[in-house]
Amino acid sequence: MKLRSLSLGDLKKFTTPIGLEGIADGLNVVAGPNEMGKSTLLDALRAVLFEKHSSKAQPIVALQNDRNDAGPVVALAFELGDGLYRITKRFIRKPYARLCCPDGRTLEGDAAEDWLRGLLGFDEPGKTGAKPETLGMWNVLWVRQGQSFGAPDLPASAQSSLHNALESEVGDVLGGRRGRLLPQRIKSQLDALVTSGGKPRGDYRLLPERLQTLQNNLTELDRRRQELSQTLDDLEEAEKLLARLSSGDRDRADQIELDEARVRRGEVAALEERIQAAATELKLKEQKLVQAEQAVEGRRKLSEEIAFDEAAAMAARERLTEVAGQEKKARSKRDSLRAAVGVAEASVTEADALVARSRAILAAVERHARLQALQQQCKKAEEAEERQHQANQAAAAILVTDKAIEQIRTAAKGLETIVARLRAAATTIRFEMPPEGIAGIEIDGQKLSPASPTLQAVQPIAISIPDRGRIIVDPAIKDRDKLIAQQRDARAKLAAWLDQARAADVEDAERQHARRRGHLEEAELARQEAAVHAPGTDEYEAGAQALADYIEGLSQIHAREKDELGLRELPRPQEARATLRTVEEHAGQARHALATARAELAGPEEALAQMQTELGAVTARSQDADQLLKQRREQYEKAEESCPNTRLEAELEAARSEQMEQAAKVSALAAERVGETLPQLDARIERLENALRERREKRHRLEVKIAELKSRIDASEGAGIDEAIEQKHRELERCKRECRLFDREVEVLTLLYTTLAAAEREAKERYLSPVLKRVRPYLQALLPGANITIDEDLQITGIVREAGYEEAFSHLSMGTQEQIAVLVRLAFAEMLAEQGRPATIILDDALVFSDDRRISRMFDILSMAARKVQVLIFTCREQLFEGLGGRELSLVPARSDELTSA
């Protein structure tokens, strides 16, 4: 389809008829500023083609001019294969539609619109006006402002048009609706059996579990069957055994043997008892013989002992006599030695008494000497103490103490300082005259001495020179009066201290002070001397008096000593010492003699003690021997009295012959033992008894076992295990068969589905090839190396970049999305146009988001497409779209004859 001209009147802002003329075959551009009315032109175009002239729908009403209420009129001339058509429609007011066909026919009203729909392939609009669904393919090819972004909206009718176009090019590769339903149907059948991951579901899923349960049941039943079978075998075996044991043949044979053994045992046991009795008798006889032998032997031993005891008693007596003599000798020797020791002890005592007295005398002598020395010391101490006393008294009499002299010296020094200052300030008056001249001169009434004709004047003085009159000298001294007053005060202070110290002047004070110090030193010397003579000791304090008291104490002790010693006169110390030495020597000698005597005594005393002990022992032994002998003799006498020796001998002989007789009897009985012994018979009896008992018990056990086995068989009765096993086998087989059927079904469905899906996929690829074939050159121009993917609903799903990775369409930028969408629209239009179907592309304000590079590529693409299909571009970017190179259309006044509104 080629649009040729469009004119409109009383439509929106256009009250006067205007139009577009000379629309070319290829690329056309309507460029102009905003509000120029580009979109209004598009509205008019859509209205005249797709809306019913009689429509009262809102979009139609909106076409009316705001200021007048005239009916909008649109006229469109377009060219199809068979020539030029002209459609004119007026809306709202006196609406009409008129289609002028190339064959000269003119159709009016609905007929015109029906014809138009047939020509262009769109659906009749509803009451609310034309919608994308009714526009069909035109909705894809004619893009309104703001709708060019994103994938083209393909309503069902548009898809249908495209599918028709595709099928007319590649044939019915998709197999129609039935074809599309088949894979779904197979898939749903497969889905009912397995999950998408191929895992069984529903009944199919439960089958393995059922199979396992059945197998388990079967195993359990088999086990029970086996058990039952075993129980039956056991029972049969047990009953056979019991039958054998219950026959009684063995028991009878064993019982006969047992009875025989018991009889034989009784006989053997009786013989053994007799042998036993004879043996016991023999033992008795043997014991009697032993007793008789012992009696004889006892009597013989007793007489032997008596003889022995007699000899022993004799020997003891002899020894006693001998030891008693020795003891006597020893005792006398000891007594003589003891007397010598007594003498030695007395002489030692005497010598010790003499030594003690001599020592006391010497102590008294020494004490006396000490007393005399102490008395001399005491006297000297007393003298020194007296001197100290006197010197202290003399010092106390002088008042110039160290403190007083210090005060006086300070005061004197102060006075001297002031006097010195006055002297320094004083005016010196020197008389240099011959002595004669001096005579007669008086100073303040006092005559001037010629020896010292120099004066120091502080105060005004009057120098009377006889005959001549007086000279008054008044020295000018600074602070003279103050100094004089200080001098006076100092002097007064000194005088006061001197007075307090009872000193005439400073020199006197110094002298008195020196005297006082001399006294004090003297007192100190005396004190030290006294301390030397009467020092403090442990026994008395320091000082003469304490010493005197001590001396007194000593004197009294000494007097008592003298009385106790009975001495009038004390010997001389040397004498006393010599005496002591002498007596001490005597005492030493006496002690030595005593030690010697005592040593001599020790041996004999010990010997005596031993002798005495032995004597005691010997005495006791002798007595014991005597006693024993006596007892033995009595014993013997008694025994002999009761049974004389001869009788004992006779009894012994009788016992011996009895014992021999009995032994012979026992041997005779033992010789009677023949054949089995008692233990052998006992063992046989025990064995037979055990065998009988064991069989009895075994029968009993078997009976119990049989009862138990029977009870188990009884318990299993009615279970019908074999029948149950067969039933389970049947169920198991059926279950396995079911499994196989399911497996087979899944295999078949899977193969069928995958084959169908693969075929469908391949068919779709083929089906879409006409679109892709046409898009591809455009895409190469826009995005070199890229490929586009489109689904079977002709929706763009994404692009495959040169590198091979696929990007979803929705993830692309707005600009790219719009550019690709335009390419697809171009491809669609191209395909339709090539098949002779009406197709024109209209883009209103599209590609505004494209960058410079892309826009120029898009221009190239549009130019390429415009060779095959008419393209109308509405844009407000006049300058930019100059580069497109299409025919530029502009609004021109239109002929008003057909456009005059009613």
Binding site: G171, D172, V173, L174, G175, G176, R178, G179, L181, L182, R185, I186, R225, L228, L232, L235, E236, E239, L709, K710, I713, S716, E717, G718, A719, G720, I721, D722, E723, A724, I725, E726, Q727, H729, R730, E733, R734, R744, E747, V748, L749, L751, L752, T755, L756, A758, A759, E760, E762, A763, K764
Partner: protein, 380 residues
Amino acid sequence: MTIRLIHTSDWQIGKVFRFVDDATMGLLQEARLVAITRLGELARRHGAAHVLVAGDVYDMEDLAPRSLNQPLERMRSFPAVQWHLLPGNHDPYRVHGLWDRLRHRGIPVNVHIHFTPEPVVIAEESFVLLPAPLLRRHTLGDPTAYMDEVGLADGHARIGLAHGTVSGFGSDSRSVANYIAPNRPERAGLTYLALGDWHGQKKITDRCWYSGTPETDGFDVIGGGQALLIEIEAPRAPPSVTPLLTGQYSWLTFAAHINSRADIGDLAARLRALPGTLDRILVQLRIEGALSLGDRQYFVQEINEGVGAALRFMRVDDQGLFSRPTQEDLDQIDRGGFVRAAAEALKRQSEEGAADDREIAALALQRLYVEHMKLQAARQ
């Protein structure tokens, strides 16, 4: 006096049929019980006072009480008939086993269990019964051997009753379990040896027969569903042996070559024309051939679903029936489009590759055909 006996065996009461559905199994089991009643009636009708059951009364040793009692109650209801039961390999005699339990519990007075190999004199009928019960499932050693040693009773017919097989495999028949010498009647002077174990009726010699099971229980059983009427005129003379029909259900096996829709029709007609009531017939079909997808579908509808519903049970072995998709089949699916492409691919797969893969592909193609047809039907 003519001795009349009914010879039967292999009742296999309690038998479980693994391959049939539950309802059919119930019917088949019930039929085995009904056969006992039939035997009682036949005995009455032919004036046979004794029914010899040559082993395998029960299919197994440990049955539920109901299964055990059902045959006894049937036998009890024929008080004039003496039933002689012999333990077989399926129900051997064991101490305290099945038979002892029955005896302890009490069996009808007209039922006799022969669990010891000892002659039993049936004085009023002038015959001696020589039973050879099995004491275990498999016995090595001929259980009838003892019959040779049993002394002859004057004027009495000697009738052996045994369970086992008369045909040995290979040269050493002793290695065969429950082997019975086929010449036992001659060796032991038997008038007749009533055998059980083979479910199909079979004459071994004039004096030795297998009665077969009274109700067929397998497709491989030939001559089942029968019993034998034995009539003995004299101990030495060979007995008169007459087969009697006892079974309700026929077990039939068919093999057919199917290559066209017409073949399918013929087969259906043949099956529908089987004699007797169709729901008393069990059929095992072995089909070979090749069919188009459409015909294969037709086969399922006509044979599996159609004739199958008429019969008591039908087992179809179609391992040898192959799909041979035709151009028409494929065009039926679609003339173009991807479904057609898929069909072509499956067809290719069904013609090449491993056998199992080929089979799956063929089934998938068949499925595609069916599903496509269903969709088409839904649209119309």
